[in-house]
């Protein structure tokens, strides 16, 4: 997912001012996926939201020496969200992998059973099922698939709750306000330092 362009950045401006602009865009980006992510099957929206949370986190970690506690707290919450969405993503990646693996085993077994019957066979003896080379492998894989589906469900329900908590707490608005206050204090301290030095 390509990051949204941040307008009005000034390389010669202060880190604090520029950081505020970037934080505003990145938080907006994060929230823009919330509606689509309400659909538990929308794997793409959940993935994009994870990337957006990661961008918020890395930005806030970077500016922590400059914007202090608000950045630190924001980074921690963004990290928790990124981690949770990452766990959901891992399930979404693993489930098709398991299905594809089982599909391959079934195809191998069918080929092996058919080969055992010979070219001119007119039917197959039920006992032939015992010669399937992968016959002992399915039960563990089915249990794994069920586990992954259940875990994905549980994690998604947790995501819904935690995102609702973030929205209820006004995470975005509060973080932007705290960062703006911290940036204001930083810039004031910087200009007073400049006056003293001159």
């Amino acid at each position: 997912m390509k990051a949204r362009r941040v307008k009005g950045l000034d390389p010669d401006g202060s880190l604090a001012e520029n950081a505020l602009r970037i934080a505003h865009t990145r938080l907006e980006e994060l929230h823009s996926f919330a509606s689509a992510a309400r659909d538990p099957e929308n794997v793409t929206a959940l993935h994009d939201m994870r990337i957006a949370a990661k961008r918020v986190r890395y930005l806030l970690e970077l500016v922590e020496p400059c914007l202090g506690q608000p950045a630190k707290r924001g980074a921690k919450r963004a990290r928790a969200l990124q981690t949770l969405l990452g766990e959901i993503h891992d399930c979404d990646e693993m489930l098709p992998l398991v299905r594809a693996h089982v599909k391959r085993l079934r195809a191998e077994d069918a080929t092996a059973i058919r080969a055992g019957a010979g070219e001119r066979a007119t039917d197959l003896d039920p006992d032939a099922a015992r010669s399937a080379p992968n016959r002992t492998r399915y039960r563990g894989l089915e249990a794994l698939h069920a586990y992954l589906r259940a875990r994905r469900y549980v994690l998604y329900a947790r995501f819904v709750r935690e995102w609702a908590d973030l929205e209820r707490d006004g995470f975005r608005e509060a973080l932007e306000a705290d960062l703006a206050r911290a940036a204001g204090a930083t810039m004031k301290a910087g200009s007073e330092e400049g006056v003293r030095a001159s």
């Binding site: 400059c66 693993m94 002992t136 563990g140 894989l141 930083t186």
Partner: protein
């Protein structure tokens, strides 16, 4: 996972440009500090640390993009992204294998052969990811990505 190194040069009154240069220097050194032994599949944490460091470096290049010479940034960012992608190709099977081993540990013995087969398949992916990464690390050395990143930081400072 290793904690991110502090960017000591970033002060409350830093300019965006100075902060960009400091951040690139620190994150570059951090990335290359994990390079040794990264192909050892017996020590998956080292690879994880290098992957996280590559993401942090990429984030720095993207956050501070307006501070860098455009053409040089594009060329360098492309190389950093490619390295991060190849680190990911190796890391993904590492994560999947660890997860399967955790699930497998809780299953009864007759349920385990299926998981062992899947782990074997993922180990093959891990090996091919390693081959890909080895090639990428050779390229990183060949083009001297570290020097290129430090030059980018220096160019930003003097702009």
């Amino acid at each position: 996972m290793a904690k991110a190194r502090a960017i000591s040069g970033v002060a409350p009154d830093s300019s965006f440009r100075e902060a960009a240069a400091d951040a690139v220097e620190v994150r570059t050194e951090e990335l290359f500090s994990f390079a040794e032994g990264v192909l050892d599949t017996g020590d998956v944490e080292r690879l994880h640390d290098m992957r996280v460091a590559s993401r942090r470096l990429r984030a720095v290049l993207e956050v501070f993009a307006p501070c860098f010479p455009k053409k040089e940034l594009r060329r360098t960012l492309r190389e950093v992204k490619a390295l991060a992608d190849d680190l990911g190709e190796r890391r993904d099977p590492d994560v999947a294998i660890a997860a399967l081993e955790r699930v497998g540990a809780g299953l009864a013995a007759p349920d385990r052969p299926g998981l062992d087969g899947l782990i074997a398949e993922l180990s093959e992916r891990q090996q091919s990811g390693n081959t890909l990464l080895a090639r990428r690390l050779e390229r990183v050395e060949e083009i001297d990505l570290r020097a290129r990143l430090l030059a980018l930081a220096a160019a930003t400072r003097t702009a």
